[in-house]
Amino acid sequence: MTEIILKAKQLQDKVSKLAKEIFENNKNIADLAIVGIQNKGVFLAKRIIFEIAKLANIKESQIPFGTLDITLYRDDLENLGSKMHIIKDTEIPFDMSRKNIVLIDDVLYTGRTVRAALDVLMSFGRPKSISLAVLVDRGFRELPIEPSYVGVKYESQKFIKVSCKESDEVDEVKIEI
């Protein structure tokens, strides 16, 4: 059984809301950089960049954009066994040192992915700041990590699946109940 948390239109509205909040908190747009966590975070990050560029009236390419894969930094590699992930690209094609980085992911749950992502980011240098934006906050944190921007809060220990048109043909957020 699955229940839909966000339909296509609602999902896109949440993305716009995140973009608007990020834009409002980063008036100095030249210092802003967006980094998406593989896989879904990257798709969401691209959409957020599109929205911010519209709001700021600049080109999308003017907002530095990077991608992160946290596989090599996971704390549960040993337990994955044969379910090992395909490692996707980690690319930070800009100098982070004076950037305010907004990290984008689809679902925030235990906080362990974000912990790993922070380690990856730090291996590229020393950003001015890092904040976190997530589409869904599922609660039940196991680490002291809190997002600055939240699309929707839906506390649950059940698996929440985000589908994006870029990879799944539909936009929606579902929960398995």
Partner: protein, 308 residues
């Protein structure tokens, strides 16, 4: 997406999918090199032992850097100063290392099959870093990765191996893997250094190097093992140079963008002329860089059996 293997003993027993899994995993490890911190915590708390019964600089260093970039603890066993000189057997040495909780043992040995013996007797992951005339799988993998990176394909790629095919474990690993990936492999060298029946592996044999270099996409030149010269397998080094050295002159017959590879260490002026080794077609140093990334991918993909 996993190898589901404890050991990497050779490329003969890997299938095409395994090879694709390994080659497809290399790029993220290579991109780690360009960061300010060239290290990931993937193998934190794991112990990698490098056990070499034969001399080596580049393979040993490459494995050591690969393991360290994944944050493993690396121990080098210098066989010449170890209990091996007191007569300890290979299996006992392996068991001792395992009792010290080695998770990975990287072994080079002059006898073919030595890594297999360790693999069967130990729960640690065994990686063959060269055994006798048998195989050198990570060299084969890094050669394939370099070809793929430069030529964007392996299927249908025409690859020529030149020199001492008989004694070369690099050649064997190349042949196994390249033929599985659909490349067309040819070899060229003195008849005494070409193993009998090699055609059965789907390999073409050319005794005339000028003829062989025409139309190929890659020339992988093997080291002439000068220490074998006393076996009288070719009349003289001078004659070998005359007939089989890869020179600028010979390359006039080849494609303009032919890739020149050499596993090292090079004997400049014997199997390869200096101007070819330093030409823009040569990717010999990139092979070394790729070697680290490939070995990181292998360490990442293998699963040591853990005792509960």
């Amino acid at each position: 997406m996993s190898l589901n293997r404890k050991d990497l003993l050779g490329l003969e027993h890997l299938d095409k999918k395994d090879l694709q899994t390994i080659l497809g995993s290399v790029k993220p490890f290579k991109s780690l090199f360009t960061r300010s911190v060239k290290k990931a915590p993937t193998l934190v708390g794991k112990t990698v032992v490098i056990l070499f019964y034969e001399p080596s600089t580049r393979t040993r260093t490459s494995f050591e850097i690969a393991a360290k970039r994944l944050s493993a603890d690396v121990v080098n066993v210098a066989v010449s100063t170890s209990s091996v000189v007191k007569g300890e057997s290979l299996i006992d040495t392996g068991k001792t290392l395992e009792a010290m909780k080695a998770d990975y043992i990287i072994v080079r040995h002059s006898l073919a099959g030595a890594p297999d013996i360790l693999a069967r007797n130990l729960s640690a992951s065994i990686i063959n870093a060269g055994d006798g005339f048998h195989e050198h799988p990570t060299q084969g993998l890094l050669d394939l990765y370099t070809m793929y990176e430069k030529k964007k394909k392996l299927e249908g790629l025409k690859v020529l191996l030149v020199g001492d095919i008989l004694h070369s474990r690099v050649a064997k690993s190349n042949i196994w893997a390249l033929t599985k990936m659909g490349a067309q492999v040819a070899v060229s060298g003195p008849p005494t250094l070409i193993p009998a029946g090699i055609e059965d592996l789907g390999v073409k044999v050319y005794y005339d190097l000028d003829e062989a270099v025409k139309q190929v996409d890659v020339v992988n030149i093997l080291r002439i093992q000068l220490e074998r010269q006393k076996e009288n397998l070719f009349p003289s080094v001078y004659e070998y140079v005359e007939l089989y050295q890869l020179t600028k002159e010979r390359l006039r017959f080849a494609k303009k963008d032919v890739l020149i590879m050499h596993p090292g260490p090079m004997n400049r002026g014997i199997e390869i002329s200096s101007d070819v080794a330093d030409s823009s077609n040569a990717v010999i140093n990139e092979q070394v860089t790729n070697g680290i990334a490939v070995r990181m991918a292998v360490l990442y993909l293998l699963n040591p059996k853990r005792k509960k």
